[in-house]
Each structure stands twice: as structure tokens, then as C-alpha cells.
């Protein structure tokens, strides 16, 4: 009698104790389900497919082990695409961050009408990659585009911006830098405004000038934000697609065939889902390394108030 009531009580208390976990799962269920279906499952599926040859419907047909990887690493096209991606990152990330930092610095001064400038500087965040690419396509137009008109004004030879393999990647990079400026600017401005004003006041009392304050206070205090924005820019650069699709379609002679565009072509134009998956795994690894870097070195530098 006593025993049974004790076990009943235990059962009840287990039910009660797990109440929190059960409620929490209820609230987390939509997120977890969606993550499983649209993030974790496809990630494993991508890895799985990268070991197979596939049919037209993307089902695994023949196990080939690492052959897909061997194939893409040997293929001139993929190597070329890696080279283009690395160059693209080098063109866009440093220049983009420096431009955004410059804009954030001049827009952080307490001047009349500064709100107007901030709005203008952040405006490209509201512009889609498709819209911006269409506009830049016109600016780069060989005969009626603005760039060539300016060149001819100063008697320089015209440049085939998007059609010359030597210029195409640079041209795409310029449009990308412009497009990403808004977001980077907004985040960096937020970072600047989070810096305690007392730091500057005490520096002023010590007689420090603008450049000294910039070097000794602003940049160190902004370092976590800078680090964050560098990471985001890197990841964004790896993921660029829309500007390629509209501006160059990967050409000329594959000079702008960035990795995501290459995956897209391989999968949805050539229907080679196996090799496309191998490329996707490669992309995943690149971004994983960048993110781990961010966690490892970024965390430590964050200045909490």
C-alpha cells in the first residue's frame, strides 16, 4: 500500500519535473522542425550525394566514393572558379570594409543634417541584388554606359568592362562593394555609437588629436564590430550569385564563375547533382572555417560594457 503510493508520487513528480522540458519543446518545435527539414537534413543529403552519381531527379544512382571530389579538384573549370572566388573575396572584402568604415566615421560626427547622410549611406541595404545589377549593367555598358563616356571625356581608351576577361571580375566586384556598403555602414555606425563618449572626453582633456583618438580609442573599441563585419563580408562574398547571373553569367571565359554560380550551373543546368554537391560541400567547408575563426578570435575581442 505504502509502496504503491510512493511510486505513484514518484511518477507524478517525474511528470511535474519534465513539465518545463515539455513546454519548452512545444515552443521550440517549429524552429527545430524547420531547421531539421531545411538545414540539417539537406546538409547531410548534400554530403551524401557528393559520393554518388545521380540521375536527373537528384536521386543517388551509383556510389563513386571520393571520385566526385577528385573530379572537381582536377577540373580546370572548378579550379578556375576557386581562383575567381578567392580573387573576388580579395577585391571586395578589404575595400568594402574600409569604405564602410570611412563612411561610418564621417557620419558619426555631430553635425547638422547628419541624419540625411546616414540615410543615404545606408540606402544600398534597401536595394536588391537584381536591381543594383541591372543599374550597374547599364553603367558598364560598352557604348552608352557612364564609365566609358567618362573615359572618352578624358581621352582614354574604352574598356570592355564586363566583356574583357581581365576586367570582368573587377567590374563585378565594384558593383558588389557598392551593394554591400549599406549594411556594413549601418553595423559599423552602430558600433561607433556604442563607444562610451566619456572615453573621448577624457582623451580631449589629455589633449589627444583626431587621429590619435582614432588610433587609440575608436579602432580598438570598434574591433569586435569590425571583426564581425569582416566575417559577414567574407561569407557574403562566398555566397554571391545574383550579380553574376545578371551581369556576366559566369563569363567571359569563366572569369567570373564564382563558386555558388558554378554549383548552380552544375546542378540546375547540367544536372550533375553529384559533382554539384561536392562543390557545395567545399563551399560549406570554406564558410565553416571562416565562422570558426570568428568564434575563436572574435569572442575574445568583444568588449562588453
Amino acid at each position: 500500500m505504502k509502496k504503491s503510493s510512493a511510486s505513484f508520487y514518484e511518477k507524478q513528480s517525474f511528470w511535474r519535473k519534465s513539465l518545463n522540458a515539455r513546454t519548452a519543446l512545444l515552443y521550440l518545435f517549429p524552429s527545430v522542425l524547420l531547421f531539421i527539414v531545411f538545414v540539417f537534413y539537406p546538409m547531410f543529403r548534400t554530403i551524401y550525394l557528393s559520393f554518388f552519381l545521380t540521375d536527373q531527379h537528384g536521386s543517388a544512382a551509383l556510389f563513386v566514393g571520393l571520385e566526385n571530389y577528385a573530379y572537381i579538384l582536377e577540373s580546370q573549370a572548378f579550379r578556375n572558379s576557386i581562383k575567381a572566388t578567392v580573387l573576388f573575396v580579395l577585391y571586395t572584402v578589404p575595400a568594402g570594409v574600409i569604405l564602410a568604415l570611412f563612411l561610418a566615421l564621417i557620419a558619426n560626427e555631430k553635425l547638422k543634417g547628419i541624419g540625411f547622410f546616414r540615410t543615404i549611406y545606408s540606402s544600398t541595404m534597401g536595394i536588391s541584388v537584381a536591381a543594383s545589377s541591372v543599374v550597374w549593367l547599364f553603367l558598364f555598358h560598352p557604348s552608352i554606359g557612364m564609365f566609358n563616356r567618362l573615359l572618352s571625356l578624358v581621352n582614354l581608351p574604352e574598356v570592355q568592362w564586363l566583356l574583357d576577361p581581365d576586367w570582368a571580375l573587377l567590374s563585378v566586384s565594384i558593383s558588389t562593394i557598392w551593394l554591400n556598403t549599406g549594411f556594413s555602414f549601418l553595423i559599423l555606425l552602430g558600433g561607433l555609437q556604442n563607444i562610451d563618449g566619456y572615453l573621448y572626453e577624457s582623451a580631449k582633456i589629455d589633449g589627444a588629436g583626431y587621429w590619435y583618438q582614432l588610433r587609440r580609442i575608436t579602432i580598438p573599441m570598434l574591433s569586435p564590430t569590425l571583426f564581425f563585419i569582416i566575417t559577414i563580408s567574407l561569407i557574403n562574398a562566398f555566397q554571391s550569385f545574383g550579380q553574376i547571373d545578371i551581369l556576366t553569367k559566369g563569363g567571359p571565359s569563366q572569369a567570373t564563375n564564382l563558386i555558388v554560380y558554378s554549383i548552380y550551373r552544375e546542378a540546375f543546368v547540367n544536372y550533375q547533382f553529384g559533382t554539384a554537391s561536392a562543390q557545395a560541400v567545399f563551399l560549406f567547408l570554406c564558410i565553416l572555417i571562416v565562422t570558426i575563426f570568428q568564434f575563436k578570435f572574435g569572442e575574445r575581442k568583444v568588449h562588453y560594457q
Partner: protein, 270 residues
């Protein structure tokens, strides 16, 4: 600030603003020009006629595309707000075993780029028969680790005592979430909502993959169509299309710039 310094700063500000905004300004001007004017390389149109705008709406079912983009963006926004606020609430207000593990799961989704998973996702949508549907365009984006973190950050600033006081008053967990947490976090919800709307409106690759007819196609794909149809001949019409597409998001950004900046910085850095 001294007067000469002010001059320097205003010069830099104006110059940068002009350079940065030039492409948009130029596109705006061209959208009013005739083909001849564009060929001559003018900056100001002779007259501000709306011809190109009328033509772009004739050329494409642009109204339909705008509607689609609006429905999809609003759908993703609402979906994200619901799904992210629920998970953020669980992370902050319900202590349970395994919370760290699930939190780690959320973090790890940030390391997986959407593009690396798009092939299986494409087939998933096909299997669900969601190609060319609003579900196919919206549902995959409802869960968002960044959104959960942003809201979690704000929820954490709400004192625990508020929860305890409502427990004593006899409020259920859900009622506390609905009647206290959500109204108190209005600003963060607005930030996340604006962010979700903006990014969805500007989405390009996914709509390209899962839509192939005018019924659900979004404006971004419309722009691509317009551009590839009109090569070189009617840039005025193309730019009119561009202006129509960017106006909603630019307006949203102009209104919410301050809020967005605050919210994103917080979500990103703490």
C-alpha cells in the same frame, strides 16, 4: 568643432553621398528619358514623362509580381516573428535540461550556408509539390537563428520578476508570452520584421529555382526577365522597373534606419 574642420567634413559627406547615391539617382533620371536621350548620354531628361512607367507595366505583369513579392515578404516576416519569438521565449524563460544542446544546434545552423543546401531543398520542395507556391517561397525561411538571437537578447533584459509576478497573478505561460513579453518587446519585433521583409523582398536565387510561372514569381525575377528581354534597346523602361522595385524597400529603410541600426548591432554583437 572648428569652422574649417566643419567645412572638410561637410565636403567629405556631400562628396561621398553623391558618389554613393549616383547609380540610384542616374537610374531615376533614365527612367524618365526617351531612347534618344539615353543614347546621347544626358543626365537630366528633357521632360519628366511617365511613359516608361506605363510601358513597364504593359510589358510585364509587374503588378502581379509586386503583389507576389509583397505576399511572400509579409508571409516570411510574420512567420519569422512567430517562430523566432517562440524559440527565443523558450530559451530565456523556460529552464530545461538540454537547453545548451538545442542552443548549440541553433548556432550551428549559422555555419551552414543556404547555397550549400539548396540542391536537396529544391527536391524537398518538389516532393512536397510546393514548386510555384507561396509556401515554397516562404516556409523554408521561417526559422532563423539570427532572429532568435536578436529577440533572445531583448528578452534577457526583461526582469525575471515580471514572470514571477504574473505566475502569482495566475497567468499561464502562453498568456505571459502573449500579453507581456510580446508587447514589451515591440521594438525588437519591429526590427526583426523590417529585416525579414527587406531580405525576403530582395531574395533572388531561391525564387529563381522554385518558380517558373507568373502566378507566384517575384519582382526580382521580373527584373531579370525585363533586362534579358530588353537588351540595350529600352533602358528607360528597364530603369522604370528598377525604380518601382526598390521604392518599397528604400522607404522601409528610410523610416526604420535608426531602429534597424540599433537592433542589428545588438543582435550581432552581444
Amino acid at each position: 568643432m572648428s569652422f574649417p574642420r566643419k567645412i572638410v567634413f561637410y565636403f567629405l559627406l556631400l562628396f561621398s553621398a553623391f558618389l554613393l547615391f549616383f547609380p540610384v539617382l542616374y537610374a531615376f533620371m533614365i527612367s524618365f528619358m526617351t531612347g534618344g536621350e539615353i543614347m546621347q548620354g544626358k543626365f537630366f531628361p528633357q521632360t519628366f514623362t511617365l511613359d516608361n512607367y506605363f510601358r513597364v507595366f504593359e510589358r510585364l505583369p509587374l503588378m502581379k509580381y509586386l503583389m507576389n513579392s509583397f505576399v511572400v515578404s509579409t508571409g516570411v516576416m510574420i512567420g519569422q516573428l512567430i517562430v523566432c519569438s517562440m524559440s527565443a521565449y523558450a530559451f530565456v524563460f523556460i529552464p530545461f535540461k538540454g537547453r545548451d544542446f538545442i542552443f548549440f544546434l541553433f548556432i550551428s545552423t549559422m555555419m551552414i550556408p543556404w547555397e550549400a543546401t539548396m540542391i536537396p531543398n529544391f527536391f524537398t520542395i518538389q516532393k512536397l509539390d510546393w514548386t510555384n507556391t507561396y509556401q515554397g517561397l516562404t516556409v523554408p525561411f521561417f526559422a532563423l537563428a539570427f532572429g532568435t538571437f536578436l529577440l533572445r537578447q531583448h528578452f534577457k533584459t526583461i526582469p525575471k520578476e515580471l514572470f514571477e509576478a504574473s505566475q502569482i497573478a495566475g497567468l499561464s505561460r502562453f498568456a505571459f508570452f502573449w500579453r507581456v513579453i510580446l508587447p514589451v518587446s515591440k521594438t525588437s519585433l519591429v526590427t526583426l520584421g523590417a529585416y525579414g521583409f527587406l531580405t525576403t523582398w530582395n531574395m533572388y536565387l531561391w525564387p529563381l529555382l522554385v518558380t517558373n510561372n507568373d502566378q507566384v514569381r517575384t519582382v526580382q525575377i521580373g527584373l531579370k526577365q525585363l533586362q534579358s528581354q530588353e537588351v540595350a534597346t529600352e533602358w528607360g523602361v528597364v530603369m522604370a522597373g528598377v525604380i518601382v522595385v526598390i521604392i518599397p524597400t528604400l522607404l522601409l529603410l528610410f523610416i526604420g534606419q535608426k531602429q534597424l541600426q540599433k537592433g542589428l548591432t545588438q543582435g550581432a554583437l552581444k
